[in-house]
C-alpha cells in the first residue's frame, strides 16, 4: 500500500503473523487494591472484529485498555498475567509502551481531534514518529481508508473541529491508522453519533477488518451483532465487583444460541 513507507520505529516486537493477534493469559487488571478484571484468557483473531459486550461496569473498557497498556496512564493501575501480541508479552520489561501503542492504536468514545487542521491531525502521529515518506500521500491514503477523503480533500487546511461528529470520529480513525498500526482498539466508537454516522463507522469497521485486527467495546448489542466476527461476553463475578469473560464465540452463535444462560439473558435484554 505504501511503497515508500519507512519503518517509523525500530521493530522491537515481532512482525504480525499467526492466527491470533492478541492472547490474554490469566490477565487481571487492578486499580490500586481493586481488581477490575480477572482471569482473562482470550484469543483475538487476526484481521477479524472482536466485540466485548456486557453490562456497565463489567470491565470491558479496562480489558480493552489493557491490550495496549493504556491503563498505565492511570497512576494506580497495574496488570498481572500476560498479554501476548503475536506471541510476545507486551508487559515484558524490555517492551516500550509507546511502540505497543503505535502497533495497537486506539479510538475513543468521544471523537478527540486536536485543535489543528485536518491534515495536521492525520499527519501528527507519523510526524512525531519521524516518518520520512511522502506525508501528503500518507494523509490521503489514511483519509481514503476511512472514506473521508472525498468529504475533506478541499479543506485539508481547515480546522478539524469544524467537522461533524461522525466526520471527526472517522478523522480520529484516520489518525490512528496513519501510524500503520496492526490492531485498532475502539471503545464505544459510535455511541456519541447519530444513526447514520453510526452506520458509516460500522461500515468503515468492516472495510478496515480486511487489513487490521479490530477490537471494539460496545453497549449497542445490535452493533456487536452487525459488525463483529467474534463476541466476548463479560460480566461481574457473582460475589465481587470484578469483571470476567464468561463466554466467547462466533457472533453468529452468541446471538442465535448462546451457551451460557447469563449471555442469553443479557443479549435478549432480560438484564443489564
Amino acid at each position: 500500500m505504501f511503497a515508500n513507507h519507512q519503518p517509523i520505529v525500530p521493530a522491537t516486537i515481532p512482525a504480525p503473523n499467526g492466527e491470533y493477534a492478541i492472547e490474554a493469559q490469566g490477565l487481571s487488571v487492578f486499580y490500586g487494591g481493586f481488581r477490575a478484571v480477572k482471569d482473562i484468557a482470550l484469543k483475538v483473531r487476526t484481521r477479524k472484529i472482536t466485540a466485548f459486550i456486557g453490562p456497565s461496569g463489567c470491565g470491558k473498557s479496562t480489558l480493552l485498555r489493557a491490550f495496549n497498556r493504556m491503563n498505565e496512564l492511570i497512576p494506580t493501575a497495574h496488570a498481572a498475567g500476560a498479554v501476548l501480541y503475536h506471541g510476545q508479552d507486551i508487559y515484558a520489561p524490555d517492551v516500550d509502551p509507546v511502540e505497543v501503542r503505535r502497533r495497537i492504536g486506539m479510538v475513543f468514545q468521544k471523537a478527540n481531534p486536536f485543535p489543528k487542521t485536518i491534515y495536521e491531525n492525520v499527519a501528527w502521529g507519523a510526524t512525531i514518529n519521524g516518518y520520512r515518506g511522502n506525508m501528503a500521500e500518507l494523509v490521503e491514503q489514511s483519509l481514503r481508508q476511512t472514506a473521508l477523503w472525498d468529504e475533506v480533500k478541499d479543506k485539508l487546511q481547515q480546522s478539524a473541529l469544524a467537522l461533524s461528529g461522525g466526520q471527526q470520529q472517522r478523522l480520529c480513525i484516520a489518525r490512528a491508522i496513519a501510524v500503520k498500526p496492526d490492531i485498532i482498539l475502539m471503545d464505544e466508537p459510535a455511541s456519541a453519533l447519530d444513526p447514520i454516522a453510526t452506520l458509516k463507522i460500522e461500515e468503515l469497521m468492516r472495510e478496515l477488518a480486511g487489513a487490521y485486527t479490530l477490537v471494539i467495546v460496545t453497549h449497542n448489542m445490535q452493533q456487536a451483532a452487525r459488525v463483529s466476527d467474534v463476541t466476548a461476553m463479560m460480566m461481574l463475578a457473582d460475589s465481587q465487583r470484578t469483571g470476567m469473560v464468561i463466554e466467547v464465540g462466533s457472533t453468529k452463535t452468541i446471538f442465535t444460541r448462546p451457551k451460557d444462560k447469563r449471555t442469553e439473558d443479557y443479549v435478549t435484554g432480560r438484564f443489564g
Partner: protein, 221 residues
Amino acid sequence: MTPGIRAHFEKQLTQLNEDVLELGSRARRAVADGLRALMEGDADLAREVIAADVTINRLRYDIEFECYTLLATEQPVASDMRAIVAALTIVNDLERIADHGKKIARIYLRMLEDLRPIPLGEVPVLSELVLAMLERALRAFATRDVAEAEAVCRADDQADAQYKCVFNAIVNQMVEAPQRISAGTHLIQVAHELERVGDRATNVAERVIYTVTGELIELNI
C-alpha cells in the same frame, strides 16, 4: 435478572404463542371434522369445514404479520429470535394442515356422487395416529418439550407404515371390485391428505426442537 425489564415484549411473545396454539387448535378441528364428515356421512359438517378455512387463513396471516412486527421493532436475538422465526414456519404448516382437512371435506363431498361406496377400512386408524401426532406437536410447542417433539417425529414412521397399509388395502378392494375404483381413488386421496398431516406435525415438532435448542434438524426422513 432485573424483573420485568422486557415485560411488554414478553407479553407479546406470550400472545404470539397463544395465537399459534389457537391456529393449531383450529387446524386440528378442520382435519378431525373433515374426517367426521366422511365417517358419519355429514355433508353439512363438510361444508362448514370448507367455509371455516377462510378464517384460518386470515389468522395465519395475522400471526405472520405479528412476527414481522416483532422482528422489526424488537430486534430479537437468541431464544426470542428462535421463538419468532419458528412461529413463522409453524403457522405455515398449521395452515396447510387445515388445508388438508378442507381437502378431505371436499373429497368427501365428491364421494357422495360415487354410486358404489367403499368401506373406510383402516382410514380411521390412520386418522387417529396423525391427529395424535398433531396434538402432541402442539403440546410440545406449548410446553417447549423436546422429548415430546422427538416422540412426534418417531410416530411419523408408524403413520407412514399405516398409510401404506391403508393404500394397499384400498387397491386390493379396487382390484377385487372395479366398480369401486372411483370411490377407492377418492379414499386413497383422503389417506394421502392424512399422511401429509403427519408430515406437517413432524415439521412443527422440528421447529419446537429448534426453538429450545437452536438445532435445525430434519427428523422426517
